[in-house]
């Protein structure tokens, strides 16, 4: 078929690599079926084929976001190191869980430091933390229930924080990939620690389950990209809220971790 041969020859060149003009396509002598098909390609798709991606965030912006992530990782890394060092704190049967989590947080710190340096930035130093939050949680390293509770809260917060920054990294694909691949690991952590606390691994509405409530504000959302998900599924509303985790932007995250940072 002659039309398809022409299409085959020009596909890579014109559709993938060049500006694709509908008029050009329609005058290429293509068969009727393909003319109709090609005319219906939304321009957005064509932009994609030309790699008209989002604007690349400035290098200082990326570094700022990565240092923000690094701060949160220092937070978790220090928290778990102190928890694992607190004699008799963690139930013997759960030690392997927290050792695995701790291993990851330590690796995240190193990865982010290396990434920031390789981008020509300076990694922020680790702050001094006060995990009692100025005396709000005096038993953080003496009560296993308290320790587990704060662990679950920090992990859920970490998930929301990374999720909140992903769109800001959309124009820096390698950094985005790293962020996404840390984000899902934090979600694994969160699920596991929640389950150790005899809760569900997922967030039901905005239930804080004994943890600081403001960490979960917004998790009750059911509207995704303008679609009220409860109207397109038979699934009950609670499960719909569980099915999607919600982002949190930098200011509220920093506000939540603020009390735990001494300097």
């Amino acid at each position: 078929m002659k039309a398809l041969t022409i299409f085959e020859e020009t596909f890579e060149k014109e559709v993938i690599k060049k500006n694709f003009s509908r008029r050009e396509a329609l005058t290429k002598g293509l068969g009727l079926g393909l003319k109709t098909a090609l005319a219906a390609i939304p321009f957005g798709v064509l932009d994609v084929l030309e790699n008209k991606a989002q604007a690349t965030p400035s290098n200082p912006d990326i570094i700022k976001i990565l240092n923000y992530a690094l701060t949160l990782e220092y937070f978790e890394d220090t928290f778990y190191k102190q928890g694992l060092a607190a004699s008799g704190l963690i139930a013997a049967g759960d030690v392997n869980v927290f050792m695995q989590i701790s291993k990851h947080e330590t690796a995240h710190v190193a990865l982010l430091q290396t990434t920031i340096t390789s981008l020509g930035g300076t990694p922020v130093p680790a702050p001094t933390f006060d995990f009692t939050a100025g005396g709000m949680f005096p038993d953080v390293f003496t009560s296993y229930q308290r320790f587990m509770g704060l662990s679950a809260a920090f992990e859920d917060l970490g998930v929301r924080a990374y999720k909140g920054q992903a769109p800001n990294l959309a124009g820096a694909k390698d950094v985005l990939a790293a962020a996404l691949n840390i984000h899902s690991v934090e979600a694994r952590h969160a699920s596991e620690v929640r389950r150790l606390r005899s809760s569900k691994g997922w967030i039901n509405f905005a239930e804080a389950d004994g943890l600081p409530g403001f960490i979960y504000d917004g998790e009750e959302n059911v509207v995704q990209l303008g679609i009220d998900v409860t109207t397109v599924t038979t699934v009950n509303i609670g499960a719909v809220t569980q099915a999607f985790d919600e982002p949190l932007s930098m200011p509220p995250v920093l506000q939540i971790v603020g009390p735990f940072i001494k300097s």
């Binding site: 098909a37 996404l180 690991v185 979600a187 679609i227 099915a243």
Partner: protein
């Protein structure tokens, strides 16, 4: 010879065999489903094996996610229709919850994609013994893990920030699922985020793109092992 290579490459990308009737129907429709037709066009017009391609770019990525969610939903529906032998209430509850999440994801993508949605899938869970805890949970683990891998792997290729946000909101829930299933298989161990899933040197999820085989079975191949109607993602990485 380079020319030959290019020809074979285009041959593979453009001329996936699909049934002639479906091809003609798909190009007659306006909208993104035409992408399915374009990449599935067979040069000599002969009927093929019935493989459906997910399409290109963001629509292709959303359709791939829709395929994954459909497989997961169908699996968990079966797993909940008749629980494995001696399933305790706590485990039934986990399966029950996950089923609803996957159904919500599936139904959301169906609405979002509209006429761009890939055609009806038929599932094949003949490899699963639904009376066996081990079989059900190990299959669940596979499905959840490929879900996390694929959402993460495709994330950097998503062009629309809106779709990236959605992928972000779902992938963490799939990771929660994976951790929970892995915990059921080996409670209170490191397996919830085992070294097989998370690289211990970096703490990064070991994600992949749909067609990456990386020493094992590609995500596409794994999907097809649960599908009677095969799919392809020929223009996705």
């Amino acid at each position: 010879m380079k020319e030959q290579k290019n020809h074979d490459y285009l041959q593979e990308r453009l001329y996936k065999p699909i049934q002639r009737k479906r091809f003609l129907r798909s190009i007659a429709l306006a909208g993104g489903s035409l992408m399915v037709g374009l990449t599935a066009c067979r040069k000599d017009g002969q009927p093929g094996s019935g493989t459906m391609d997910v399409g290109v770019a963001d629509i292709g990525i959303l359709n791939f996610a829709y395929v994954l969610e459909q497989i997961e939903a169908a699996f968990y529906i079966k797993a909940n229709a008749s629980y494995y032998n001696n399933a305790p209430l706590s485990e039934k509850q986990v399966l029950f919850d996950i089923m609803h999440h996957e159904m919500a994801h599936r139904d959301f993508f169906k609405k979002l994609l509209g006429s761009n949605a890939i055609g009806t899938l038929q599932f094949d869970f003949s490899s699963v013994d639904f009376t066996s805890r081990d079989s059900v949970l190990k299959t669940a683990k596979i499905l959840e893990d490929i879900g996390v891998e694929a959402y993460n792997g495709l994330g950097p290729f998503i062009q629309s920030t809106d779709y990236l946000k959605i992928a972000g909101k779902i992938v963490s829930v799939e990771a929660r699922h994976s951790a929970a299933i892995r915990d059921l298989l080996n409670p209170r161990s490191a397996d919830f985020a085992g070294d097989d899933a998370v690289d211990p040197a970096t703490g990064l999820e070991r994600s992949r793109t749909p067609n990456a085989a990386s020493g094992g079975q590609s995500i596409v191949a794994t999907c097809n092992s649960f599908l009677l109607t095969k799919i392809s993602a020929s223009t996705l990485p």
